[in-house]
Amino acid sequence: MMMKREVAKRLFAFELNRSNHKISQNGEKTPIYVLTPTGEKCNRVFIVGVLLDKEEIRPDSNFWRMRVSDPTGVFVCTAGRYQPEALEVVLEIEPPEMVAIVGKVNVFEGESGTYISIRPEAVSIVESEARDYWVYETAQRTVERIERMETERDSEDIALAWQVYNPDLNEYRQKVREALIVIKEEFETFKVREEEKKEEVKEEKDADLELDELEFEEEEWDLSDILGE
């Protein structure tokens, strides 16, 4: 059967970091999925956030750990030589920087429980517009999932998410709300700044206008008198 490409799911760090339930389907070569508390089954994710720092896990291992922040928390990403395209960008990038990352999710069993990380397939530097749209898009998808958690309780993944996580949906609603407000406030500050800029430009223009008038007046004078020509 044809192997289908996996859609890159949109999740906030708050939710991804609480996901620890692996689902593997029967059959060889089937991808591994991680079930999230709002019932999303994901294998690949796309995130946009601020690269806070990067560190080489062991000296000369060429294996890098990066921390990328969104308005709800921090994603941990690890890139190594098996992701050469991503690694190339990671080596050049200097945090802090706004980045977009697409990658596969991995759940590890650690000494203090399970933890989740993203293995980037591609890393790129982006502007804040991409981050804003990502937050909006991720908020929208999360709201849709929260609503389905309430209305489709007997659907397979959702029933399992209730059983595994029994999530407090209001907590997730609150995180989405906070994330949206962060970018909304940014827009407003940006607007104020734009307004201020317009004001400055206007003042400059006014000044120019006065200057024009002066020059005009100057021309009216017969300079020859003063210069004694």
Binding site: F46, A122, S124, Y136, S155, D157, L180, I181, K184
Partner: protein, 319 residues
């Protein structure tokens, strides 16, 4: 008068008997029509049990006799539109057209592909053990009693032993092929950038070798093969020189210059990745067999303020 009444009764009983027999037959069970008629007649005309109740009682009796569950027996599943399929493990029936058949490499699967109506397109799988006849691309059918399933995060429908496929003359329309998508460009494939094409067939040439014409004369071209992903679907897209120039200012001439200055063609791909990867685009395009053919592409730059307010309203007040 009395004769007519008897005739009417006989007709009702024989019609209901036929329906019940058919239903069990569809699921692979032979039942005795005489036995069914006798029970129906007794219930409906001796004991005056309402028709629905009588049918249900006979069904239950037969299921018990044959030791089959309600799930095994295909109870008439509701007719729905493909766009309404959102949950797994539902029994459904619909009228749809075969959009595409894929190659099945699994011996357990007799057919796999896409089926659609005007509300959507969905993957279907026909299990070999279902013993159902094959369907043909471009033809329309009534599908009865399919089971919905979720695989890799996407919905699909499975044709099983209880299903029924009936070809119809009607041509079921498919969703509009023209679509508008906003998504992130999450991948730019390696065979993108400044490429070379065969003079004879325009196929891409690698190290001067055309897959058809071998060693060949070639010309330069600029293209991007990539994946646009909106979190729900992905679309494979191809950007041509015009698209790339409109987005980045880099056309074929500029690309050649970049390659020449750096003595390395790969730098063009690197430059395009730096400029485009991970960013959001809005594409107006036509759905093709595999690719979304790009008619128009631009960086996403809509105002988000109103959309955010709508979403905040949908979230409701803080609790």
């Amino acid at each position: 008068m009395k004769g007519e009444l008897v005739e009417e009764k006989v007709e009702i009983i024989s019609k209901l008997t036929e329906q019940i027999t058919e239903k069990f037959k569809r699921s692979g069970y032979e039942v005795n029509p005489k036995e069914i008629s006798k029970r129906l007649e007794l219930l409906m005309f001796e004991f005056k049990v309402p028709e629905r109740e009588a049918i249900r009682t006979v069904n239950n009796y037969l299921m018990k006799e044959l030791d089959v569950s309600r799930e095994q027996l295909s109870m008439e599943s509701p007719f729905i539109k493909i766009g309404e399929i959102t949950r797994p493990n539902q029994w459904v029936s619909f009228k749809a057209k075969i959009v595409q058949l894929w190659d099945s490499t699994s011996p357990n699967v007799s057919q796999v592909g896409l089926v659609g109506d005007e509300t959507g397109i969905i993957k279907f799988v026909t299990w070999a053990k279902s013993g159902k006849p094959e369907v043909a691309e471009g033809k329309s059918y009534i599908f009865r009693n399919l089971v919905t399933d979720s695989f890799g995060g996407r919905m699909q429908v499975n044709v099983n032993r209880n299903s029924e496929i009936e070809e119809i003359a009607e041509d079921v329309p498919l969703p509009p092929r023209e679509i508008k998508v906003t998504g992130a460009l999450i991948a730019i494939q390696q065979n993108s950038g400044l490429i070379q094409r065969c003079n004879e067939c325009r196929r891409t040439v690698s190290k001067g070798i055309c897959p058809v014409h071998g060693k060949t004369e070639s010309y330069d071209d600029l293209r991007i093969k990539g994946v646009l992903d909106d979190g729900e679907n992905f679309y494979e897209i191809i950007l041509n020189e015009d698209n790339i120039k409109a987005l980045t200012g880099i056309g074929l001439e500029e690309a050649k210059k970049i390659a020449k200055e750096n003595l390395e063609r790969g730098v063009v791909l690197q430059t395009l990745r730096n400029r485009l990867l991970g960013k959001y685009f809005t594409v107006n395009g036509t759905r093709g067999e595999r690719y979304l053919i790009v008619n128009e592409i631009d960086f996403f730059r809509d105002e988000l303020g109103e959309k955010i307010d709508e979403l905040l309203t949908r979230l409701g007040a803080e609790q």
